[in-house]
């Protein structure tokens, strides 16, 4: 598996650290239902068999956090974007 880093180009998997599902966001701790929301964000996962949006850290490269769209059935990388760009739609072109 190689990940197309926006700065470094296609780099080997061994340079990256996986951080999991990118759709889990830290909830507002002042919300009325904060305990339930935290439970959701910390523990519950869609865990899809197919396209999955996830966070990777290029620790042995440019040290960017990346938002990677990857197929969990085939390991095919569908798209990569910088996590700070805020784009959830890491499209195949990006």
């Amino acid at each position: 598996m190689r990940i197309q880093c926006p700065f470094c180009g296609a780099r080997d998997l061994s340079e990256f650290v996986y951080h999991g599902d990118a759709s889990a966001h830290r909830p507002d701790s002042d919300a009325e239902d904060a305990p339930e929301r935290f439970f959701d964000a910390v523990y519950l996962r869609d865990n899809p068999a197919g396209p999955h949006l996830e966070l990777w850290y290029h620790g042995s490269g440019c040290r960017s956090w990346l938002r990677v769209h990857r197929n969990t059935l085939t390991h095919e990388i569908l798209g990569v974007a910088l996590a700070k760009s805020g784009s959830d739609a890491a499209t195949p072109e990006s």
Binding site: L13, F39, Y43, R45, D46, H75
Partner: protein, 408 residues
């Protein structure tokens, strides 16, 4: 004996390949070790024989056929230890119970330690085990040297100081476990339905009343999921989100060599475990690849890491050739411990989250899941494996890693 002389042409099938009926008391989804063990104990212990085991491929074709066959009960935490020890006790009587040679071989499991702090942790674990009545023995370097003189004791970074040994641990033959449970369950009237993939659930209000399959609808009073690896996919069909991620774990086998390793040995400074099969191949593995995957195959960095662990521990295996490697999809729960519980949906029961410790748990998992399905209450040794423990904060985090499934 007669078969040996007759060229092994006279063997008949060991279990019935059943066609689905329209109604059962209980359907168990998943024809792996856990599903078949559940069916066996439902029939044998609880007298419920109108049971179907529904399997999308052939039985034992998932993780039951992809593990490294190690059995042990060297767990520390009170929620885990009695369960795995019950499993070990069932292993010890399994061949008599099933009248099937499952090749249970209690050749010992040795976890090595490489530092003072690691020794202290193993002392604590060993004491925890002994307080639960499980055998544990702490060996110093000389004790390990007597067992395994060829280890790299003087490794510059990770010298071997000793190990925690469970002599009752060992290995079993994974396929024979599946086949033994299948034959025993089938003999008691359980229908084993292969090539029958579940495509959805039949709902009656809040109740789950059956499954839609590729071989037509099947209805039942209760439905148990025992599909580790694919739990989220099936739960999703029922509208449930679970504290589970699917990850790939790779395993390896070398060419066959003469008897070399007497038991199971694990490297404490990395993650590497090794045993030798009865055919002579060295069977070993290490860490997860670390990313979500349903692919049943991994990547090369993990292959390299596992082999480096092997070389750091036993330099002598360096010239043994690797024969095969493969991957299995693990149900990684958020605390590294399994779930055997009801679900919020009436009639649907969950057996999941086995991480990469599912094989050794096979008998107790079946025993406790059968108990839950038959009596609607958890078995005493599986009380801690509740689905709601994550929301309540009652995690069973054996490794102390937190909600990072790829680290358990």
């Amino acid at each position: 004996m007669r078969q040996a002389l007759g060229g092994h042409r006279g063997w008949g099938p060991a279990w019935r390949d059943a066609a689905p009926q329209s109604q059962y008391d209980i359907i168990v989804i998943g024809g792996g070790g856990h599903g078949l063990a559940t069916a066996h104990y439902l029939a044998k212990v609880h007298g419920i024989c109108k049971v179907a085991v529904v399997e999308k491929g052939w039985i034992g074709s998932g993780n039951a056929g992809r593990n490294t066959t190690i059995i042990r009960s060297n767990y520390l935490l009170p929620g885990n230890n009695p369960f795995y020890e019950w499993s070990m006790k069932l292993w010890e009587g399994l061949e008599q119970d099933l009248n099937y040679n499952t090749m249970v071989s209690q050749r010992g499991v040795l976890n090595l330690y490489h530092s003072d702090t690691q020794r202290d942790a193993y002392v604590r674990r060993g004491n925890g085990m002994r307080m639960h009545g499980v055998d544990a023995e702490l060996l110093d370097a000389a004790g390990v040297r007597r067992m395994l003189p060829f280890l790299d004791f003087e490794n510059a970074r990770f010298p071997i100081q000793g190990g925690l040994l469970q002599r009752r641990g060992g290995t079993a033959r994974h396929d024979a476990v599946v086949w033994g449970y299948a034959r025993a369950a089938s003999d008691r009237g359980v229908d084993i339905i292969q090539n029958c993939e579940v495509t959805g659930f039949i709902r009656e209000g809040e109740r789950v009343a059956g499954v839609q399959t590729t071989r037509g609808p099947i209805r039942a009073g209760k439905i148990g999921l025992a599909v580790a690896g694919s739990t989220s996919r099936l739960a999703n069909m029922a509208g449930l989100r679970l504290p589970i991620e699917s990850h790939v774990l790779q395993a390896f086998v070398s060419e066959a060599i003469k008897p070399f390793i007497p038991g199971v040995v694990t490297f404490g400074a990395g993650h590497f475990y090794l045993s030798q099969s009865d055919k002579g191949g060295l069977v070993f593995g290490g860490d997860l690849d670390g990313y979500n995957s349903y692919a049943q195959r991994g990547n090369l960095p993990t292959v390299e890491d596992v082999c480096e662990g092997g070389m750091a521990l036993i330099p002598a295996i360096g010239r043994v050739r690797l024969l095969r490697s493969w991957g299995g999809v693990m149900d990684m729960s958020m605390d590294g411990s399994p779930i055997i519980d009801r679900t919020p949906l009436q009639g649907l029961y969950l057996n999941a989250g086995w991480c990469y410790g599912g094989f050794k748990a096979t008998p107790a998992s079946g025993w406790c899941f059968a108990h839950l399905l038959a009596r609607d209450e958890p078995h005493e040794v599986a009380r801690a494996y509740r689905l709601d423990r994550f929301a309540r904060g009652c995690l069973i985090d054996e490794k102390g890693m937190g909600a990072q499934p790829n680290l358990h």
